[in-house]
Symmetry: C2
Subunit: 300 residues, 2 copies
């Protein structure tokens, strides 16, 4: 029987409240945190995400600037736009919504963003900074959100065995970096498993904390967790649901109904990691604004 | 009973032979691979390492330039020297021997090296490149040596559970990056354990391949491994030995006598990972020389 459903939504609200206070403090210093969100093309999911980010930024008085570009934007056009944002003193954070259309090289584009404005923390320089524990690092929003969620729900990963399923550049890898680091939320023993792991179940059963970030519905079943585990579900998957007006509903990677019967605590989808990602994006934006005036929270 | 002592020395010789052939190929194109080795101060161990690297480079007709600087070299002096090497077209790889004297900031210094000449792969940009699987990455020599040693001794880590004890920026972290990557020598399930891990023995006993990179003699005992494990010992520790003319001898992290009775294969110290590190340094140097003329092996 589940003791505890961890509400990412509530924790995210608490973080947003702190971010709002920091925005007010910066305002009093004459700095308005500015976030640029670049969307290329008309992917429906991306459009929804961008709208959510914009709305959340505005609700905290962060100045948000959306640049919506046509699907056929060339690499050099996009680079030029990013260069302009790099040079704009009113912009402290630049986010290029992924995935980009197939003709654009994501890694090349992400490398054009000034690392000190790279609010998503995807620039190789920031990945490296995060790895060596530099105070100049920017932690990617979803992994940072997972760590905050664990800490604020009373599940400090220090010394614990965390199994991360998924090795993406956006979630799995940077999450392992944070969890094995020496800062707050670190000092965990971390296993990275993935699609090529042999006998996944024997690995997941050893977890004190299990994080799934694969993107496959029902990947994590009840028999794959031991009692007492804390489960964080990063997956967002559409499954057909005729009873829903949209014809689908969103679920995570974890078979919630059965797994929640076994484990000690679990995050829901939606309302778990999703709101945390947005809260950490806003936190990163304000942190970069603060750093741009040579002070403030150094973060990860 | 140990089936197999893995000779890093022999495997390193095979790699050096391949590197020599690549040097000859580059020579025929008018390119002599050039390695600059910067040593600050007179740390005896560092002096020995630098001399070994120089000798190995020369034996393969790699042009090696040693810069030995006094202990009290200032940060700006050292930065100036690195800048000169960055600009020198005859130098393809720059190595600053660590540790630096305490008054110098290692991370700041390493960040001054041109990432495309960063033969040790310690620049944050290269750590990031390695993490995202970029063809421009330079893999740090010791982790790359561990992976090569596993592959060439018939222990491909793909799909296997590798436990890495130690989370240093130089070995543990980049090794986990390589092993969880999607390239040759990757696709392993990887656990990073360290000094803050609770119940280390329960973790090490789950390993198919166990790598220790901590720097503590006798850290890994027989009861911490299961039969069939492959053990790679990265540690180099001095222990008092009156029977030795120097008064000490070098040992690894693994209690070799007892562990070798249990496991399937094991690397010795010395003669295991050490020679691999030097071989990979030479391989990296030649790879960077090859890239500098816009061709050749793209490596990791």
């Amino acid at each position: 029987m589940t003791q505890n459903i961890i509400s990412g939504k509530e924790i995210a609200e608490a973080i947003k409240k702190e971010v709002r206070e920091e925005v007010e403090r910066l305002e009093s210093l004459g700095v308005t945190p500015g976030l640029a969100v670049v969307l290329v093309g008309e992917d429906p999911a991306s459009s929804v995400y961008v709208a959510m980010k914009e709305k959340a930024a505005k609700s905290l008085s962060i100045k948000s600037r959306q640049l919506t570009l046509p699907e056929d934007t060339s690499s050099s056009e996009l680079e030029g736009i990013v260069a302009g944002l790099n040079a704009d003193p009113k912009i402290h954070g630049i986010l290029v919504q992924l995935p980009l259309p197939k003709h654009l090289d994501e890694n090349a584009l992400l490398s054009c963003i000034d690392p000190d404005k790279d609010v998503d923390g995807f620039h190789p320089m920031n990945i490296g900074r995060l790895s060596i524990g530099s105070d100049d690092a920017v932690a990617p929003c979803t992994p940072a959100g997972v760590v905050e969620l664990l800490l604020r729900s009373g599940h400090d990963p220090e010394g614990k065995h965390v199994v991360v399923v998924g090795r993406s550049n956006i979630v799995g890898r940077p999450l392992a970096t944070l969890l094995t680091g020496r800062k707050r939320g670190g000092n965990a023993t971390v296993t990275i498993a993935h699609s090529r792991s042999e006998d996944l179940q024997s690995i997941t059963k050893t977890a004190d904390i299990l994080v799934s970030a694969v993107g496959r519905a029902d990947l994590i079943r009840a028999e794959m967790v031991k009692p007492g585990t804390v489960v964080v579900d990063v997956g967002v998957n559409r499954v057909v649901d005729e009873s829903n007006a949209k014809g689908y509903r969103l679920v995570g990677d974890v078979a919630f109904e059965e797994v929640s019967q076994v484990v000690d605590a679990i995050t829901p989808v939606p309302g778990g990691v999703g709101p945390m990602t947005i809260a950490m994006l806003l936190k990163n934006t304000v942190q970069l604004a603060s750093r741009s005036v040579g002070e403030g929270d150094k973060g990860y």
